[in-house]
Amino acid sequence: MPVAWDTTLVSRLTPGSSALELFESTQLDAARVLIPAVSVMEVVCGHARASAGRRRSERLLNWLPGFLARPDVGVLGFTRTAAFAVGEARARAPFPPSRRARDRRSKAERRVSWALDMQVAATAWAFGVPVATENVADFERLSELLAELYPRAKPLEVLPSPL
C-alpha cells in the first residue's frame, strides 16, 4: 500500500539526501511514497521565506518544480472529502495539543502548523493511505479526531518516520 509522507519528511527531500534515495527506491513498488499537496505548499513556503540571502533555499526552490513534475512523483490533492473533514475537525479541536519541551514556535505558528497537519492527515485519510511522520503523537490525535467524527470511515493509520 502507498504511504503519504507528511511535511516533516517531505522537507527532507533534497538532492543527494537519504530521504530522496528512499523516496526514489519506493516509486516502482506497491508501497510507494506519495506527497500531499499541502506538504508541497509548506515546503515551498519555507524555502521561499528563507531564500533571501540563502543560496541553499534558493537552489532548493529552483530544484523543486522539476522534481514535482517528474512522472514518478505522486502528489495527493486536497479533495472535497478532506476539506469537509478538516472543517469539522478544526471546529472540534481548534488548538494544538500542549507544547512540547523543545518546541520554540510561537502560539500563532503552532496553531497554523496544527491546521496544516490536519490538512495533511485528512488528505491521507481521504485516500485511505497511511501517513508517515516524525510527529507521531499529533497525527495519532488527528487520527482519533477523524475516527470520532466519522466512525464508519476507514481510520487513518499513523506510521513513524522511516528516515
Binding site: 469537509f84 485519510w125 485516500f127 467524527l149 466519522y150
Partner: protein, 78 residues
Amino acid sequence: MTREAATHLGTTPNDALILFAELGARLYAQEIEMARTERLQMQAIVEAAGPVEPDAEYPTEEEAREAALFLRRTGGWA
C-alpha cells in the same frame, strides 16, 4: 527512463518495458483503489451527518448573505 531503470534493475531494456507495463498497471490499479476509497470516505461523512429532515429550515437568502458577510469579517476561523 526505461534504459536507466533497466540498468538499475540489472535487466535488458526489453524486459524493462514489460516490467514497466506491469508496474504501470499495478500503480494505475492503486490509483483507482484510492479514488474509490476517497468516495467511500465521503460517504462516511454523509452518513455521519445523518438524514436530512424533510421539514428542515434552510437559511433564507438574506440569512445566507449575513452569514457570508460574517465569515468575511471574521475570517471564518476566529
